[in-house]
Symmetry: C2
């Protein structure tokens, strides 16, 4: 029999069949009246999931393209920025900012921990010339959530400092109130909570950030947010729109609106909690010492077993594609996502596959113990 496949990776994530089929319809022209109302709906729905009144711009790129756009549209070479760096994607902020000639000050955070928000205030007080604070809401590489709400409340007191959040894996999995929390620029990507294939990045921009855009001196052409804003007002994008993906986006957002914001956030919280509790029941340790992300659960490989072997056994023997550890965490952890088009049985499949995998690798385990814990949680908190 063919190996039936289950995608439990923190991106790309599974895409609902309705969305896949909508993208399989014949291609339409991006400047035609067939397409403009679709882009109009999608942009309004994006504001809804972003919880913002500001424009959410749509770029044809991966999420990293959106991160670059958040740097090269609001700063000028030599300016000082503060990066909270607690994982592979924190490092990415550092690398992008440095590639564009910014003077990067870091708050290094031990991988697995959430940042101490007071450290941000300390740095902002010490260095009055910090023009921007960069962070991940959910650091995908460590499975850790940073308290962007509290940091937003701090940064908003600094008139000349923008707060820029990478929500690529956090958005949809966490309740992130862009406007209320004072997030000036927020990036996300299609292949995570949005239940879409990779290919689109989304960037919201506050009025405070638009003012800074006027002064920003950095080379930009493809990622030019001001031009995107002008085009979005006419329901267009600056260059050829990724029509198929945007049609899919609109369909995926329709499904999300049917579910409702509160239900979406509760579902992700319950799936994440069930995964964590099941993992602990099995006897493994969670990697995060800080607040765990609701998008992905990072799990320590037990003593004597390589995390990469767990990841490979899950995939090759059981058809379950989770994720290994990245960079210095390679072999030490593995990660199971519960993000986007995920329900309780995705968790059950993930935990069941993990139980069988661990037994095969010689780890002492009682079959069904983790699954039972997850069922217990699902019986108390309904997730539909």
């Amino acid at each position: 029999m063919i190996l039936k496949k289950y995608l439990l990776a923190p991106g790309p994530t599974p895409v609902p069949p309705e969305v896949l089929l909508s993208m399989a319809m014949p291609v339409i022209h991006h400047r035609s009246p067939d397409f403009l109302p679709i882009l109009d709906s999608a942009k309004k729905r994006l504001q809804w999931i972003y919880q913002t009144k500001n424009d959410v711009l749509i770029l044809c790129s991966t999420g990293t393209g959106g991160m670059v756009a958040s740097v090269n549209n609001f700063f000028s070479p030599g300016e000082k920025v503060l990066v909270i760096n607690g994982g592979k994607f924190g490092e990415r902020w550092v690398k992008i900012a440095q590639a564009y000639g910014l003077n990067v000050l870091e708050i290094p955070v031990e991988w697995g921990y959430s940042v101490d928000v007071n450290r941000v205030d300390e740095e902002l007080k010490k260095h009055t010339d910090i023009k921007g604070v960069f962070i991940q809401a959910s650091e995908t590489s460590t499975g850790v959530y940073h308290d962007v709400e509290s940091i937003g409340k701090i940064v908003r007191n600094y008139e000349d400092t923008l707060f820029i959040v990478d929500s690529i894996s956090a958005l949809v999995a966490h309740d992130i109130k862009t406007d209320e929390w004072g997030i000036d620029v927020m990036v996300s990507g299609s292949q995570k909570g949005f239940m879409l294939p990779p290919g689109l990045a989304f960037v919201s921009v506050s009025e405070k950030a638009w003012k800074r855009n006027e002064k920003s001196k950095m080379p930009r052409f493809y990622f030019n947010l001001k031009k995107e804003r002008e085009n979005l007002a006419k329901n267009q994008t600056n260059f050829t729109s990724a029509v198929s993906l945007i049609i899919g986006l609109n369909e995926a957002l329709k499904l999300m609106q049917k579910e409702g914001l509160e239900n979406i956030f509760r579902r992700h919280a319950v799936l994440a909690r069930a995964t964590r509790e099941a993992v602990k029941e099995i006897g493994l340790n969670l990697f995060p010492k800080g607040t765990p992300s609701n998008a992905v659960t990072a799990i320590e490989a037990p003593q004597g077993i390589d995390g990469q072997v767990i990841y490979k056994t899950l995939r090759e023997k059981h058809g379950v594609t989770a994720a290994g550890g990245q960079d210095k965490l390679k072999g030490k952890i593995f990660r199971i996502a519960h993000l986007g088009y995920a329900d309780k049985f995705d968790v059950i499949v993930g935990i069941s596959a993990l139980e069988m995998t661990l037994k095969e690798l010689g780890y002492p385990i009682t079959f069904g113990k983790g699954v039972a814990k997850a069922e217990e949680i699902f019986s108390k908190e309904e997730v539909r």
Copy 2:
């Protein structure tokens, strides 16, 4: 009845059903053994259609992203480059080069004409510090083809000068021999001859260009071709691969290989010639005074009729999405494409819709005259 739709625009172009369905399959992970062989096949097939032994890098962006990558990977601010500017996309080369601080020298070409290739040699002799020559193979805005073969032969004599070709609408429609003609960097995009939705750009890079890449000092992160090259060697892309689009790319390239290079180029040549001859038979003038492109035919609106009205009538009354004129050609021309997934009946539909549209707009016409001319050509030169 619902209006049946026909897409005859110079991008996006129609996508074959086999390709649409391949992209509607469940999403797979971009670092998994499910995906790596697909990327491996796609990259080899790209080299085949590019007629190159060099790497053809795959970017997640529109074609314009590929144009940016051709600028910011091979030059440094202040360097002199020569742009052949004969249309909207020639202008785009100028704008991108200027955005990145290059010293742009232009050969302005009247819209509708092909460049006089001797002018390129003259400029290269006069300015010995020209580091790159930029051109469109097919200028989509005017429907004109530039003789990139002859220019390639000139530029290769200049050791320190790269030849960079935008083949976004030309590739597949024209026989472009990347290596033989000495093209150092060639850009194309998924939504044209490749029969795919928008979202991917392709860039080939010669050894001469890679050497220049070592010296290039420009900020780059998302469009970093050296990193893409390192990843492509491992059948990966630098950031999350646009898995669905790359799966579709591989399927579309399979279809092309079945047809064969010669047949593909002959088909486009015959479709383009039939379109041109039919248009002339109707009594309209072709816009190009230079060599016409085989991707798209630009047609002058007859005296007293607005080209935008022709375009809108074609679309609204007949369901045929062609294209209007861009910028200063708006209202003066309209364009019918025969690019990618196009056969003889696409031409027949386009010409028939044009005949009916012109009659409705009061232009004197004998029904069927243009169609007859196209049929005559197709009866002599079989296009399958």
